[in-house]
């Protein structure tokens, strides 16, 4: 199994499994070449963006051990464990704990502890697993590593190797002045001397860790387990709204979680059409969702969390205190969606098509604002039957719609008609063999106007006799 990425000349191998590595495949070769040799190779596209996101999340998760963690490149996490190791019983036990927990998450990790960031990343990537290196043996530990461990660019690596400097130990023995003169033009992040100084602790290399993501969370702890969450909603929502008001934010997605006494938890989520921090509105939405939430033997902790927040500044709409119409509609959408489900509350979505039932689709209201209406040149019925219904032809005429037909067990006499309007199948969407349709607007004796069509024509080679259907009703 290998992962591929797009190279200059087609896909190349980006990462590979242990089995693939055992067979002698290496990164950077073209996928087609490898596939020619290994016929059973399984290739998947790599997802660099997904990897980066996962690693970011892993970095935040790693704050269980120490407060400052940051993603390191595309394949590592740096943690500053200064002052944190003793909490886990020393560095060795902390490393064991890390190894075990990464394994529980299904990730394999190579870990190393060193006094500096640069040394730690070099030891983790090139020094085998589980290295713990103290400040005294730092120079000794990094000396046997190859110069590529510094993560300098390929040109510099080649240059150093040409000079015979293959390990960091060799590089360290070269007089500083010579290195400085040789690499004075090289950018800081690729300069071997700067990187070596950082790794050996001669220059400062602080860790710039991103801040913890703020969680908008309100919780209520109860002295006794209770069964009904509704009475506590007001306090929770008020607390959450107060927090969000301070930051001028409004919630778009909320989650209420109850933590039951038997250790289980249950949660309910609601989405909002527009950001809101009105406690009463949030309570109303949540209260409608709590039917059927299983409290078990009771719960003693409730949390209400805003999963997605958006900026929402304070503003006054009207001096006379009248309600804002747009906000009213957004609140209505929230209530309808929360109770009926997002697929039942829809705007029309439009599609360029000649087939009538394809023109109009549905779009959940929470997904966005309604689109502008498509103009259809020909007259269309106000109501469309879905699915279309077949009619029985009682008296067919050679041209035009049947003079007499039966639909829903009532027979109708055609008084006047207009048509045909021909709609051909859309070959790029329809299955082969789909028949064309000839539409007629038909007025029956008492004035009702139907939209009927004939599917296919006689002798088109796509089935037997053409059939007739009713698809719409005109005003």
């Amino acid at each position: 199994m290998v992962l591929s990425e797009q190279g200059t000349h087609g896909p190349v191998i980006y990462a590979l499994s242990a089995e693939a590595r055992r067979r002698g495949i290496v990164e950077g070769t073209r996928v087609v070449d490898v596939q020619a040799i290994h016929l059973d190779l399984h290739v998947e596209r790599s997802d660099a963006e997904g990897d980066r996101k996962l690693l970011d999340r892993v970095a935040i998760w790693a704050r269980r051990w120490c407060p400052w963690t940051v993603r390191d490149g595309m394949d590592g996490v740096t943690m500053d464990i200064t002052g944190a190791a003793h909490l886990f019983g020393g560095e060795a036990r902390m490393l064991r704990d890390m190894g075990a927990r990464f394994k529980m998450q299904g990730l394999s990790a190579r870990l190393a502890v060193a006094p500096t960031r640069g040394a730690a990343q070099m030891l983790a990537r090139h020094g085998g697993g589980g290295v713990i290196c103290g400040p005294d043996d730092l120079a000794v530990a990094v000396a046997p590593l190859p110069v590529a461990a510094l993560r300098i660019n390929a040109d510099t690596v080649r240059l150093l190797q040409r000079l015979g400097l293959k390990t960091l130990g060799a590089l360290m023995e070269v007089p500083r002045v010579a290195l400085m003169r040789r690499f004075d033009r090289v950018a800081e992040e690729f300069n071997p001397l700067v990187l070596l100084d950082r790794a050996l602790g001669r220059t400062a290399d602080p860790l710039n860790a991103p801040e913890d993501a703020v969680r908008w969370l309100a919780r209520v702890r109860l002295a006794e387990p209770v069964i009904d969450p509704v009475p506590h909603l007001d306090a929770l929502a008020a607390d959450l709204c107060r927090q969000m008001a301070k930051a001028e934010l409004g919630a778009r997605r909320l989650r209420l979680t109850i933590y039951r006494v038997d250790g289980e938890w249950r949660s309910r989520e609601v989405a909002l059409a527009s950001a809101s921090r009105e406690a009463a509105h949030l309570v109303r939405l949540m209260a409608g969702k709590l039917e059927g939430i299983d409290p078990g033997f009771g719960f003693d902790l409730l949390t209400l969390e805003a999963l997605r927040v958006e900026p929402l500044a304070l503003h006054q709409d009207h001096l006379d205190g009248a309600r804002d119409a747009g906000k009213d509609v957004a609140a209505l959408l929230d209530r309808l969606t929360a109770k009926l489900g997002p697929e039942k509350v829809t705007w029309s979505a439009w599609c360029q098509s000649h087939v009538p039932e394809r023109v109009e689709g549905r779009m959940a209201t929470l997904a966005g604002a309604p689109e502008a209406v498509i103009e259809v040149a020909r007259e269309r019925p106000l109501r469309l039957l879905e699915p279309t219904e077949e009619i029985v032809v009682l008296y067919a005429v050679p041209e035009g719609p049947p003079a007499r037909f039966r639909w829903r067990r009532v027979s109708y006499l055609t008084a006047r008609y207009e048509g045909p309007e021909r709609v051909s199948p859309e070959w790029w969407r329809d299955r082969p063999g789909t028949r064309l349709r000839d539409y007629y607007k038909v007025e029956v004796g008492d004035g009702r106007r139907f939209w009927i069509y004939r599917e296919g024509i006689l002798g088109d080679g796509r089935g037997g006799d053409p059939r007739w259907f009713v698809q719409g009703i005109f005003a």
Binding site: D328, V329, A331, L333, T346, P381, G447
Partner: protein, 240 residues
């Protein structure tokens, strides 16, 4: 004034037009109105309600139950623009009439909507006098017009301020093609109303009218057949 001749008496016909316009229901009035379908599968009701809706940027909430969609089809968006309706329709498609009422009540309480339209097929139990009364009160409190389309129903008790029964009439003569149906005509029967006299009229949709309140034209029916220009039932012509 002509004088009587010795042979015959000259009488003058009244100058009053035999066919008169009646004010159409003002769609902007925030009351509950019932519209009953005169016959099954009749699109006239939808057309009648659409031509009464006010002109507004605000969306219209259109709630329908499953039975109504199965019987009469669902509202077809591309036709709305052709019909002269310019707003957006917020569709709520539920299965049970109970949810239709719930959604309509929520909508009727929301001043940001231009109108609320609900469709119910048959006469389910939830369609009681109390339910319609609640709807009427909500509509009047929040000033949102509410229309209730009832198909397959003979008109059970309702608290609606106006109750209409609308059915299709044979359409007008097509301007170019005598064999084709022309502009639609409906029969609008106001059989119960508060604040105006009931009656039966011929209704016609005027998509080109400038103001929303002129889009629906109600013409009194004269017993004398087609006299006026704008009252030419196609029946006669189609028959002849």
């Amino acid at each position: 004034m002509p004088t009587d001749s010795p042979n015959a008496q000259v009488i003058s016909l009244s100058s009053k037009r035999l066919v008169t316009d009646v004010p159409a229901p003002n769609g902007g009035d925030a009351v509950l109105r019932d519209v009953l379908s005169g016959g099954p599968f009749d699109g006239a009701v939808t057309g009648f309600v659409l031509s009464c809706l006010p002109d507004s940027e605000a969306p219209v909430l259109w709630v329908s139950c499953r039975m109504s969609r199965r019987e009469n089809g669902r509202l077809y968006g591309p036709a709305l623009r052709q019909f002269g309706f310019k707003g957006h329709v917020l569709r709520v498609e539920v299965s049970h009439p109970r949810d239709v009422f719930w959604a309509m009540e929520e909508g009727a309480a929301c001043a940001g909507l231009s109108a609320v339209v609900g469709e119910i097929h048959g006469a389910p139990e939830v369609l009681s006098f109390t339910a319609t009364k609640r709807l009427a009160l909500r509509s009047e409190a929040s000033e949102v017009p509410v229309w209730l389309i009832r198909s397959g129903d003979h008109g059970a008790l309702s608290a609606a301020r106006e109750r209409w029964r609308v059915s299709s009439l044979p359409s007008e003569v097509h301007p170019w093609n005598r064999a084709a149906p022309g502009h639609p005509l409906w029969e609008a029967d106001l059989f119960r109303a508060r604040g105006r006299a009931p009656g039966v009229w011929d209704a016609r949709h005027e998509p080109a009218a400038r103001w929303a309140k002129d889009r629906l034209r109600l013409l009194s029916r004269s017993g004398d057949g087609p006299v006026a220009q704008d009252h030419s039932p196609a029946t006669e012509l189609a028959r002849g």
